[in-house]
Symmetry: C2
Subunit: 234 residues, 2 copies
Amino acid sequence: MTDNGHCGHGKETTEMQKMCISIVPIFNHLEPSEMNEIVKHTNSVSHPRGHTIYHEGDTSDGLYIVHKGRVKIYRLSENGKEQLVRILEPGDFTGELSLFNETVHDAYAEAMGKVELCVMNRDDFQSFLVKYPAISLKVLGEFSNRLAKTEKQAARIAMETTDTRIAMYLADLSEEENSSQVKLPMTRKDLASHIGTSPETISRKLTEFEEAGWIRQLSQREIEILDMDALLLV
Amino acid sequence: MTDNGHCGHGKETTEMQKMCISIVPIFNHLEPSEMNEIVKHTNSVSHPRGHTIYHEGDTSDGLYIVHKGRVKIYRLSENGKEQLVRILEPGDFTGELSLFNETVHDAYAEAMGKVELCVMNRDDFQSFLVKYPAISLKVLGEFSNRLAKTEKQAARIAMETTDTRIAMYLADLSEEENSSQVKLPMTRKDLASHIGTSPETISRKLTEFEEAGWIRQLSQREIEILDMDALLLV
DNA sequence: GCGAAAACTTGACGGGGGTCAAGGTTTCAT
DNA sequence: ATGAAACCTTGACCCCCGTCAAGTTTTCGC
């Protein structure tokens, strides 16, 4: 894998960086002049599909804001198995964990396709937090959402059966997309690692659900939910 | 269950409230005068063992700071099984999840013994955040710690075997207490729900570990770790 | 301190689901 | 467009561990 042959660094496209800042919830409430000030402190970076953005064990180099594309955050267990923590969409950010306690990253970030990021270094970000307290409130809100989501996720994996976890995942997806027809945002393997099961089991359960008449598999990644209530009763 | 027969409300003991504020990491860095200002906006509350401090579904009424005693935060799954999310020690706080997004609590808080709390209402807390940005940074640090811990926990439950999870729990405890002799802070039932297994399995695994010579069970709640390395190899 | 209630341990049993394997399908880089 | 690599599905096997039950020990309110 070439190291960063595809990684453009620098400020050649301030326009792009500006757009980047303006779409992020934690910054987009600021005055244009304030945004401009922030834009000056970011760099644009691009990564090709499959490229690792940061490694477990890297020291924190800052805040990563996704501009285009998607980023997969995952961990590796002792025995080398990977667990998908979450997927970043444009407007999401990461790197925060090590921003506030001077620790190393404890997860990996990998580009799921071609990805464009805006990067701000740790010290600059912290001084913006002090200068514009409203940003802190936004970040706190974001953290508290993620915390709630992660705690819910942990509780599910710990207490629910595999059927229920898969059903609940579909339900969440359907709610997010406001549609009874959902598109899985990842492979069976990643989904399995996310909800704590195996790809084979996901295949089997989805087939069962289809045979029971609760869903229809339109294609590998697309599923139509026919009977949500039955689905959630296991 | 009597509703709040044991719950003292009011400001009869400002001294206690002051102490309460002064031991919390998110406030104890402030000037004495600033702390006094904050103390004025808190109320002391006491709960007896087993008393529920807030229910799932309650609307947020503020920030709870533990002064004395311990508080158990747990969730209930669809089928009524409980999962222990975490335990609050003196100096810890909760209620944050709903402080930043106007949502209802999605967990329960229960006094594990006699507990004394300081409570601050949502609006007051938010205005202190704006007035003293340093508090936000502290809260952000705390959130980021909890997020890291929770994500790690979710990954473990999803990917590791039961043996490994129990071993890792003991290892964490030993590290926290800086001692090879650890005291379990909860019952087998709660521990089981926390790490995603059953009380019976915990009993059995601990016996296995002891027979293998890796630990010694001094009493039900006290365990001496004899061979940490072997333990972590499963 | 004492008695009841909660917590813990041990045994037996059964099923859910993880793993390995093999064959079919989709994706993607060239 | 095309071949290789990644992904998905289905089958067979079997073991881990959740559950139920019964007996023992510890905890705690009075």
